[in-house]
């Protein structure tokens, strides 16, 4: 008879216990969903219901087209105002999942006679889907351990800043729905694997298709599941359940993913997808070999069979290498290489390196985004090793891969967060299981070996009949239990405080609207970006082409509604380099480029007046580098530094720097603002130059319109350092 550490009620029927527990679970999940949504609304409360940052502006614009013109028009949408004059075939170059989701919600609400503005749907889509993510994580973790771990994981993912950073209200980006799809596809895969069910495999494939339609990060699933299957095969865990689950997922998932126009034939022609195909082939071989082995008993024949399987596998691998070499299969992309060699992008593809979210992650950001989950994470992974069922292998592989990727690229922190939440929940739930279990083990019994499966709910009825007295002290005593449990509770509540603080201060800035605090604590809203875009909208002809650096392309298209040369969809390096060349050349050289592209306005962001560090002068070196990549003879980075190798903007600036269009436009008449005093650039803390001549070319009689909306912005505090991850440079 086990002794109890504390009394438990004995007069409850098992059915009551079960029903109550299930009610608690539902209520808890509902509360978690509420918390997940509520914590993402800081940006609306602090600012307004506005689309954030850069990419969301394009998604929003595309969604408006979808909502107003219907799906087929959206599919065939050719946007002549983007990448002028190349244009952009939006329908074929976009992951339409996000827009389609909002569009469906929009039409649904219209059908219910709820006239909701499409903008509000877009703004609130990410918080809404975060509630689904919490639920999907609950389901996933439930498969790993049990419901209590699932609830913990759901609570963690609901408020973990690592995920909130990409899903606050207004952050209308693909990741908003993709993380839910990622977790749910994984859950379905685990379920299919456990049951060997073709149905679950098919549903997994359907959600995989949704994921493919929603986010380029689907490649993570495409490789994650095959790696899991491969590891299972190598560990000798091949089973018909694996065969059925994988084959139904792969066949249906691949075929359906090829229906997305942007993906097309990539699943059968690019290296990123070859792993899945290879594992598919290997599974057929292994299954065939198993079948033959079960019918043939000869030892020699079985040996021969094994050799044959290995030989065919090697043959397939070499065929793959051959096809890659001859160009039938597209080689790995630059983004992929930069995952393995962090210096690769800087050397060969400056345009990727120029995006700060592609930089390696700094250590503090792990703790800022995940706080205590960070040190619970390894414990959870080790706990997975203890049982090592098939699904635990999945968590282990996922943990290893995503830890590496999150270390390489800041933005991949997003894929790490779910697995951290899951394994941290497993660890914490195991801990609580042990310390909340009222059963005191016998002296001989090893406390650690307490089966983690028996949660308090199960334990209570089983020990209901015991009448042994509870001890209040000792290693199994109530005091030890209280110390651990209260410590855990304290950590959990501190985690909540941390998450709330980080979310409200760092991740809720829309970045198109900025806030600053005066010395008395009063808040000032700085809305210069939108003012400038509306100036363009109100004061220029509808077809006036605006040239700016690519960061502002989507925002100009979305807010100013004017054609742009380049935007955040950086598909054409040469075109971006052309803009970089125009910006970094002298006026005489830049003018023909501007004429050729029908440019009428040039937008330059300058923050030197009030110290906005994300301005174009600070990004200027990237323009130079990208232009140099295409025209190494005309643009050289070293010419923009002083002879002593400094990047200066004052009187000591190099001649090329002083003559560049960007420099002249930035400082043109800047000194006038200081009324005769020494002009100071507050970003670079240098004296600003005086008497910049912005010459108008007079070829015959001709007027050139070159405008320069003045865009000063305020200083950003240290508290908001994290939110600058998407700032370029």
């Amino acid at each position: 008879m086990p002794s109890l550490a504390y009394p438990v009620p004995t007069d409850l029927s098992p059915a009551t216990v079960k029903n109550t527990a299930s009610l608690f679970r539902i209520v808890t999940l509902a509360l978690i969903s509420g918390a997940a949504i509520a914590s993402r609304l800081f940006s609306i409360i602090n600012f307004e219901s506005v689309i954030h940052e850069f990419d969301p502006w394009f998604n929003y614009r595309a969604t408006r087209v979808l909502a107003s013109k219907g799906f087929y028009e959206f599919w065939n949408w050719f946007d002549p105002t983007a990448w002028y004059p190349l244009g952009r075939v939006v329908g074929g170059t976009v992951y339409p999942g996000l827009m389609a989701t909002s569009g469906v919600i929009y039409y649904l609400l219209q059908a219910l006679n709820l006239p909701v503005d499409i903008r509000n749907i877009c703004v609130l889509l990410a918080p809404g889907f975060s509630a689904f993510t919490a639920w999907a994580t609950y389901m996933f973790t439930k498969e790993m351990k049990d419901e209590s771990a699932g609830l913990l994981a759901a609570a963690f993912i609901g408020i973990a800043p690592g995920y909130i950073s990409r899903s606050v209200a207004g952050s209308y980006d693909n990741e908003a729905i993709a993380i839910f799809l990622l977790m749910f596809t994984f859950y379905l895969w685990i379920k299919a694997l456990k049951l060997g069910s073709a149905l679950y495999g098919t549903i997994a494939a359907v959600f995989y298709f949704y994921m493919v339609a929603a986010w380029g990060g689907y490649v993570f699933i495409t490789n994650m599941i095959p790696v899991h299957a491969l590891v299972l095969i190598f560990m000798g865990r091949f089973s018909h359940r694996l065969y059925v689950a994988y084959c139904s997922w792969y066949a249906i998932g691949t075929l359906s993913s090829m229906q997305v126009p942007f993906v097309g034939f990539q699943p059968v022609s690019t290296s990123e997808h070859m792993g899945a195909l290879g594992v598919f082939g290997l599974l057929q071989l292994v299954a065939f070999a198993n079948l033959v082995r079960s019918h043939v008993s000869s030892q020699n024949f079985q040996k021969l069979l094994r050799i044959a399987v290995v030989a065919i596998g090697a043959l397939g691998a070499s065929a793959f290498v051959f096809l890659t070499y001859t160009g039938k299969i597209a080689p790995w992309t630059g983004r992929f290489y930069s995952l393995w060699d962090t210096g690769y992008a800087k050397k060969y593809i400056p345009i990727i390196a120029s995006v700060s979210e592609h930089q390696p992650t700094a250590w503090p950001s792990f703790f800022m985004d995940l706080q205590m989950l960070m040190f619970l994470f390894p414990a959870g992974v080790i706990l997975c090793f203890r049982e090592l069922r098939d699904e635990h292998l999945f968590v282990i592989i996922y943990a290893v891969l995503s830890s590496y990727f999150a270390g390489v690229m800041v933005r991949l922190m997003l894929t790490l967060t779910p697995v951290v939440c899951v394994s941290a929940a497993i660890a914490l739930s195991s801990l609580l299981d042990v310390y909340l279990n009222p059963v005191e083990p016998d002296e001989e019994q090893d406390a650690v070996a307490q089966p983690a499966k028996s949660g308090p709910a199960d334990a209570a009825p089983s020990t209901a009949s015991s009448k042994s007295t509870s001890s209040t002290r000792g290693i199994f005593g109530i005091d030890t239990r209280l110390v651990v449990v209260f410590n855990t509770l304290w950590m959990l509540s501190f985690f909540v405080f941390h998450c709330t603080y980080v979310t409200s201060t760092a991740y809720s800035s829309p970045s198109v609207v900025l806030a600053s605090q005066g010395q008395d604590g009063s808040q000032h809203i700085i809305d210069d970006f939108r003012e400038a875009y509306y100036w363009l909208r109100q004061n220029t002809e509808e077809d006036a082409v605006v040239m700016s650096w690519w960061d502002y392309g989507y925002q100009i298209a979305g807010m100013a509604d004017r054609p742009t040369l380049v935007d955040n969809n950086t598909w054409n390096n040469t075109h971006i380099a052309t803009v970089g060349k125009a910006m970094s050349s002298s006026e005489e050289n830049a003018y023909p480029i501007l004429r050729k592209h029908d440019v009428e306005y040039v937008l330059v962001i300058f923050g030197g007046l009030i110290g906005y560090s994300g301005d174009d002068i600070n990004k200027f070196l990237w323009m130079v580098r990208i232009a140099q990549g295409v025209w190494p003879d005309e643009i050289q980075e070293s010419n923009y530094f002083t002879p002593r190798g400094e990047y200066r903007v004052d009187e000591n600036a190099s001649k090329t720097m002083k003559e560049s269009l960007m420099y002249k436009m930035s400082y043109y008449r800047f000194a006038d603002l200081f009324g005769g005093n020494q002009a100071v650039d507050r970003v670079r803390n240098q004296h600003a130059p005086k008497n910049i001549e912005l010459g108008l070319p007079r070829r015959g009689v001709h007027v050139r319109k070159l405008d320069r909306p003045y865009l000063p912005s305020q200083e950003r505090g240290h508290a908001r350092a994290g939110s600058e991850e998407r700032e370029r440079l």
Partner: protein, 448 residues
Amino acid sequence: MFSIRRWCLLALSVASLLCADAKSSTGDSVLVVVDPKNQDQYSTFFEGLKDGGYDLTFRSPKAEGPVVIEDDAPNFAHVILLAPEARNLGKDITPQSIVQLLSRKTNVIVALPTKQSPLHSLAAEFSLILPPPNTPLISYFPKRDTPSTLIPIKIEDHSSPALTKHIEPVWFSGIPASLGSNPLLVPILRAPSESFASETTVTSGSADAVADSVERGGEGLWAGSSLSLVTGFQATNGARITFVGGAEIFSDELAQKETERHRQSGNAAFSREVAAWTFQENLVLRIDKVEHHPVNATEPNEQYTNNDQVVFSTYISKWNPTKGKWEPYSGLKDLQLEFTMLDPFIRTSLPPVRGAPGKYSTSFRAPDRHGVFKFVVDYKRKGWTSLESSTTVPVVPPRHDGYPRFLSAAWPYYTGAISTSVAFFLFSTIWLAGEVNERKRSKGSKAE
């Protein structure tokens, strides 16, 4: 749309001009800046202009008004600066303001002085390279009794696009200019090949001085028929300015002087021709409208699909100065159409359509490349108004259902898919049927 409305407005203004019996396409008000003392010297020229319907306003170089630009708008359609010897043309007439006049589409005739003056720097801005001050054009041929600086010049027919009629030889006295490479320059009167520019003192004006400078490799030599005496310049906005090497060419004295025996000089006619070109009477064209549409349609498409057959037409009018109105003009033989996106993808001739006056049309296949294309008509000929028209239209890839549905080349794949499906169906049928038979047989065997 916008351009059509603009042309309507222009047509209205043209109609109003008709009542005023004006012959210039841009207006009939002329400001003449001339010293009142010398005003009578140019009466033939002024009378010719008045007969043409121009409304002349005279202003002394010393006078303050009437001003040429008031409230950022020009007060006159044309300006003649005929006071070369004046040190100052007035407070509001400076090289800068003359450039402003041009950018506001006012036409200007400038008579250049021999002495150094601000007008020299103005000429330099228009790629005219003037000789040093006080070096007029000199020629000793043909032998005549006039001073060597007063030169009779024969004008070949069609020697300049700006001269449309046959003109008798003219007398010229003044300075030449060598021309830069600016394509907007239109030389109207060339210097005779045996003439040169030099100081008029006895020593330097001699043939020896010329020979000397030839020996120095032509340095400082202003000689020959590459020099221009009367030079037009057409700005990109259509405004015209003419630099005349000396005001005397407009004078009554030279207009009445005989070049050969009993043959009156062509100065009067020449002056009239110069004014006609500068004041945009002659060689003035405009594009009335452009239109594009697919073949077998009349309405324009908002966007074209790759490989569409597109028809492009333009309607061109020429100003008829005698009637004072625009008339459809089918005389351009070398008009071209470009379909460009950064670079021209298609460049084709735009021939006049027979039976439709003023209409030029062509049809071509849109390129197999999507993007924002422009129909560009860019017609620049010396002396003529430059015609520029650019119409933007996107060319898009076919719609999702715009591709051919069944390809004969894909039959192997169709066959593969169909045969696999059929085989799978047959296999399942046979498998299922065979299973039943076997079970029956085994049952039967057991029963036995």
